[in-house]
């Protein structure tokens, strides 16, 4: 029973925390310099890993898809399959997961360390709102960066799938592209970017929340990072199901 109360109280706190982020965001815009710094950091931290991961996910989707479709003679749908899988599901999920794993953990660790070393208290005593200075710039940077990263992930995973289809599986390049263009609509691209945006917002809220409410000591910091990654990864997978169901029925 205690655990249930603790969980519900945690959810309530998380709710208040999220509301404070957005009220601060709408009330006062932070310095653009702080936002650009964060955007640059997110891009630099996430992009190389995202490209590497998306390359291999794209190739894998093409390979697996080819062998499945070959069983009933549907290889011609490979382009559509790669395009739809990557744009609708894989690119936004991977972007969300990697944003949680790289900048997300960095944010949790930074804010938790600042909390433990009384630097957040110091900000408050110096009349600087920690939400405006620490959290809102990160949130804006996540919001602006996520759709762009999803586009990168789309392009890299589809290109990798295309490369495997053409060079390894000897499929016709023109046919692959035509099939893809016939089945993939602009809404798929936009929905994927929208999903990535939602995952990024959730990643930012959770990673800042766990950092901000970190417990004292090194154990508190490591716990904040751990909770941040595990919660965000689980949330993205679960939330993705409901989003997909809502969008595609």
């Amino acid at each position: 029973m205690n655990q249930v109360i603790k969980f519900m109280s945690g959810l309530g706190q998380l709710g208040f925390f999220s509301v404070r982020i957005f009220t601060t965001l709408f009330r006062s815009w932070p310095e653009p310099r702080l936002v650009f710094e964060q955007m640059f950091k997110i891009g630099v931290e996430t992009l190389p890993v995202l490209i590497a991961v998306c390359t291999f996910v794209g190739t894998n989707i093409a390979l697996v898809g080819y062998h499945i479709f070959k069983g009933f003679g549907g290889q011609e749908f490979l382009g559509a399959y790669v395009g739809l899988s990557c744009l609708r599901e894989m690119a936004p999920i991977l972007t969300g997961a990697l944003m949680a794993a790289k900048p997300g953990t960095d944010i949790s660790a930074t804010i938790a360390t600042m909390r433990v070393k009384e630097q957040i208290d110091a900000l408050e005593v110096m009349s600087v709102d920690p939400f405006k200075f620490l959290i809102v710039p990160r949130m804006i940077a996540f919001i602006l960066t996520a759709p762009i990263l999803v586009l990168f992930a789309d392009f890299v995973s589809v290109a990798a799938g295309f490369a495997v289809a053409v060079f390894q599986l000897h499929q016709n390049a023109g046919h692959f592209i035509n099939q893809m263009l016939a089945y993939v609509r602009m809404e798929d691209l936009i929905n994927g970017m929208f999903k990535g945006l939602l995952f990024a917002i959730v990643s930012c809220i959770l990673s800042t929340y766990f950092g901000y409410t970190s417990k004292p000591g090194p154990k508190g910091v490591s716990r904040a990072i751990n909770l941040s990654v595990v919660t965000i990864a689980s949330f993205i997978v679960i939330f993705n199901f409901f989003l997909t169901a809502a969008i595609y029925g």
Partner: protein, 274 residues
């Protein structure tokens, strides 16, 4: 007694069932150095956090220059906090910024001074704390004593009316501890601000204090000048200031520093799994 800079009126603060401050009332005189002493875990740090509005009391009022900080909105509280400078236990310097940027931080946030003017003030403040020319060093390159001195320079950056010190001597060797005390005295003479110091250090307390407030078992058990405190016949005071671990101070009562996380996390047993 002169004009009050700070007044605590019947303030109570508890975390769950643990009462930290139990209806305490006391005054801090403007322009004087008031040292708050007491065994670990008696609520000294909570006292400071209540004063700057990092914590809200369950009951009572806290006046800063006649304004009750417990009833202010977040924005008004930020305005009142501009009257304060605070030296945290370990300095609380921002790790990613060098010493110069740390000291310049409040100036960049709250003034319209040019970069040149700000850097001039930074150099002046560093000179005042006896560390000239270290603007480009990172906090990780500084010793504990240097971090505290840089923290003091940052606390003084906006020339605040009230400067708070959270255990300025903790973790320092006796020589550095004495140097910090002398720096506090020198700074006090230079600024004329009101100083409120949390301390365990008994020789240092008598060196810097104009006025002492003793906290014990969540209550203020004595206030007075150094001479009045020294002359007190209260056995708890006598024991504390003679550094005697025998009774009457209940060792089971003060078992260590308070964990202040509950005000952030809402959880009351933060150390349960440590």
């Amino acid at each position: 007694m002169g004009e009050n800079a700070v007044r605590f009126e019947n303030v109570r603060k508890a975390f769950g069932k643990q009462v930290i401050l139990d209806h305490i009332s006391c005054d801090v005189e403007k322009g004087k150095t008031t040292v708050i002493v007491g065994p670990s875990g008696t609520g000294k740090s909570v006292f400071l956090k209540l004063l700057v509005g990092l914590l809200k009391p369950d009951h009572g009022s806290i006046y800063v220059d006649g304004q009750d900080v417990t009833r202010l909105s977040q924005n008004d509280l930020f305005e009142v906090r501009k009257k304060f400078g605070m030296l945290f236990q370990d300095g609380a310097l921002f790790d990613s910024q060098n010493v110069g940027d740390n000291i310049a931080f409040p100036l960049r946030r709250h003034t319209r001074k040019s970069h040149k003017e700000i850097m001039k003030i930074v150099a002046q403040k560093l000179d005042q704390v006896g560390l000239p020319g270290i603007e480009h060093k990172l906090p990780s390159e500084l010793s504990g004593g240097m971090r505290k001195r840089v923290g003091l320079a940052r606390a003084m950056a906006l020339d605040p009316e009230i400067i708070l010190f959270d255990e300025p001597n903790s973790g320092l060797d006796p020589v550095m501890s004495d140097a910090i005390d002398k720096l506090i005295i020198k700074t006090k003479q230079m600024t004329g601000s009101t100083f409120i110091v949390i301390s365990h250090d008994i020789p240092g307390t008598f060196q810097i204090a104009d006025h002492i407030i003793m906290l014990y078992k969540s209550k203020v058990i004595a206030t007075g000048t150094c001479d009045e405190i020294k002359a007190s016949t209260n056995p708890v005071l006598q024991q504390f200031f003679s550094r005697n671990s025998e009774i009457p101070i209940d060792p089971g009562y003060a078992t260590g520093e308070l964990d202040l996380r509950p005000y952030v996390t809402g959880e009351l047993k933060d150390n349960e799994d440590s």
